[in-house]
């Protein structure tokens, strides 16, 4: 997941959690505050009532004909005050919720109860306030708080998103530049316009490291190219000298056979050097991609060239290309060498009466060319080493120099072809060339 998405998600999630907490916590909180306010008011009223009683005397509320009780409601039954004479001295001073029936209607009140003594008589005073009033206030408050919070969360998430986008822009730029290059050789160092020192450091470090990698690559390529080239002349001399010696009729047979062995060894050396030189030349872009190559024709010609080898090994060779594909800009000779080497391996490491099939079909926007064999297969742990130079899987002491697949890989890279190897030991190997979509054709 991208950093920016993570940051945005995190900011949204944390705010959502805070919002949830507030939504859960606010109702009881508001309720408690409201109760507290109500209680305060009840206590205030108690003081007022007590003061009035003191000033006017209890008689103005309770006389003999009133059965010793006084009650007063306001019009909407939101509040009441009652005074009542009680026979015994019971000390009560509480505030609590209780249900009262008022004119046939049950209403829940917050009720303050207090007993007091006036002139030897005991009285109970109750002051009540309807809880429905409190509830209404709480609901309204809660609703507005919720709207406000949601708005705050949305606004801050949006601000976070925008800000992190601006802040991370240099990082995105670095990533886009890195995505564009397939090989360190294609990297061009670029400056970054930002005030964030971390990104500047990152960019400079990447530029620096890539520069070092490029220099090392270049040196290696130059070295291989130069060495190979310099070795070609002495090899030429040795080869021609051996050829001249071989024609000497005086040469005894046992020496002649040794000469032939020498020739083979020299050939192996020559082949290694020529291969390294070929790889180095491809990497140095000394080959042109100026031919249009029809993959069906290519496969047919490779098959024709190699058919007799398949016959010798008693391996069936079949070209089965259902859909054709044309590479507008390619190098036929190099592609031929590439496919030839893979098909040759498929034949060489096959079993008698085995089979090699060259298949091709459109694959998404690109094309897949497959070389399938029923050969001895490759162990899974060997596959990653398959393209390493001088890696020989099957014939450590044979004539193979282990550069065949290096050629294949280099030519593939040169043409932006992806390679995929699937193998089951004992059953066979499928070697797939994945050709990219042909931009030039689509453009035209």
């Amino acid at each position: 997941m991208r950093l920016q998405s993570k940051l945005t998600l995190f900011s949204a999630a944390s705010k959502a959690v805070v919002l949830l907490l507030l939504v859960l916590v606010i109702p009881p909180l508001v309720h408690r505050v409201a109760l507290h306010n109500t209680d305060d008011r009840l206590i205030q009223k108690r003081e007022q009532v007590l003061r009035i009683i003191e000033e006017q005397g209890i008689e103005s509320f309770i006389s003999e004909e009133d059965n010793g009780a006084y009650g007063s409601y306001n019009l909407l039954k939101e509040e009441f005050i009652s005074l009542e004479q009680i026979p015994e001295a019971v000390a009560v001073d509480t505030i609590e919720n209780s249900l009262r029936k008022v004119e046939g209607e049950v209403v829940e009140y917050r009720v303050l109860s207090l007993t007091f003594e006036v002139e030897g008589n005991f009285y109970l005073m109750e002051i009540g306030r309807s809880l429905a009033t409190i509830g209404e206030n709480t609901d309204t408050l809660q609703q507005y708080a919720l709207y406000f919070l949601v708005a705050v969360v949305l606004i801050t998430v949006f601000i976070d998103l925008t800000f992190s986008k601006i802040l991370l822009r240099p990082l995105m730029l670095i990533i886009r530049r890195l995505q564009r290059i397939g090989h360190p050789g294609a990297f061009k160092p670029q400056q970054l316009q930002t005030t964030t020192s971390d990104f500047l450091y990152l960019n400079n470090t990447i530029n620096n490291m890539m520069g070092q990698i490029q220099a090392a690559f270049l040196k290696e390529k130059e070295f291989i190219g130069n060495v190979s080239h310099e070795l070609l002349t002495p090899i030429s001399i040795l080869q021609t000298r051996l050829e001249n010696l071989l024609t000497d009729p005086e040469l005894p047979e046992h020496i002649l056979i040794k000469m032939v062995e020498n020739q083979k060894t020299l050939h192996r050396m020559k082949s290694i050097i020529q291969t390294l030189l070929l790889i180095s030349r491809i990497e140095n872009e000394q080959y042109l991609k100026n031919e249009s190559v029809d993959l069906k024709i290519l496969a047919d010609e490779v098959a024709e060239e190699i058919a007799e080898r398949a016959e010798v090994k008693q391996v069936g060779l079949e070209v089965n290309i259902s859909e054709d594909w044309i590479l507008p800009q390619a190098n036929y000779t190099l592609l031929f060498t590439m496919l030839f080497n893979v098909v040759n391996n498929a034949i060489k490491y096959n079993k008698p009466d085995g089979k090699v099939t060259i298949e091709g079909h459109v694959n998404g926007k690109g094309y897949a060319l497959k070389v399938k064999d029923t050969g001895i297969g490759i162990d899974a742990e060997q596959i990653p080493n398959l393209f390493n130079r001088f890696k020989r899987l099957h014939a450590p002491d044979g004539e193979s120099h282990g550069l065949g697949l290096s050629i294949v890989q280099t030519v593939a890279q040169f043409h932006r072809i992806k390679l995929k190897v699937l193998s089951t030991p004992g059953e066979g190997t499928t070697f797939t060339f994945l050709f990219p979509k042909a931009e030039a054709v689509i453009a035209s």
Binding site: L232, S236, L246, T247, S271, E305, G398, S400, H401, G404
Partner: protein, 224 residues
């Protein structure tokens, strides 16, 4: 045939000339461009074998000098540079063929013969041997007028053996001739043996072929 070998490597020039003399060419050696330039101005060469990497001269300049001569010698470029550009440039400037180093002397001779055939418009392209006739223009083989169908590889093998008749060709030399333009992982002489076996089968249906000899442990020889 008079050949000028322009090659700064003395050992290589020695081997080249040894071979060419055996093949009855007359040879001169020029170790540098200056010397070569003087020699081609004075002598009438039929062939110039030209190394492009000379110490004092750009080989391509020498090529242009040689092309201005009236008698137009055939020119084969021999070079270790072997880049595509060199090859294209060399052929554009009028070289008749181009052989990258290291090359086989047998290959060189085959190329020289092909160049001569083109250059001097040799009309007859038919090689006759033991009652067989090989037409190199049409790539056809026949026995007393009766055509024998050969595969491409069988034809190439027979032609090469015939071109270098009476000489032992090692399996490697034959392999290089047939598969040499493809760089591959290894060398397997087995394939040559099978091709020769098939070739023998086709030829022996018409005549005895004791003249296509196997040299044990070495290779093959076609004697005429």
């Amino acid at each position: 045939m008079h050949v000028l070998v322009v090659e700064d490597e003395a050992s290589l020039a020695t081997e080249l000339m040894h071979f060419l003399k055996q093949e009855r060419y007359r040879c001169d050696w020029a170790p540098n461009g200056q010397d070569a330039s003087e020699k081609i101005a004075v002598n009438l060469y039929d062939f110039i074998l030209l190394d492009l990497g000379l110490p004092d001269y750009n080989g391509l300049d020498l090529l242009q000098e040689a092309k201005q001569l009236d008698h137009e010698p055939a020119i084969i470029i021999l070079t270790a540079r072997g880049s595509l550009e060199d090859r294209v440039q060399g052929l554009d400037l009028g070289a008749d063929d181009y052989l990258p180093k290291p090359f086989s002397l047998l290959e060189l001779q085959a190329r020289m013969q092909a160049v001569l055939r083109r250059k001097f418009k040799v009309k007859s392209s038919v090689l006759a041997f033991h009652g067989f006739e090989l037409d190199s223009a049409d790539r056809r083989l026949s026995y007393q007028g009766q055509e024998i169908t050969l595969t491409k590889k069988e034809y190439d093998l027979l032609h090469y053996l015939l071109l270098h008749k009476n000489r032992i060709l090692t399996r490697l030399q034959l392999t290089e001739h047939i598969w040499g333009n493809i760089l591959e992982d290894d060398y397997d002489s087995n394939y040559i043996d099978v091709h020769i076996k098939n070739l023998r089968k086709k030829l022996s249906a018409h005549s005895t072929i004791e003249w296509l000899e196997t040299v044990r442990g070495v290779g093959y020889r076609l004697t005429v």
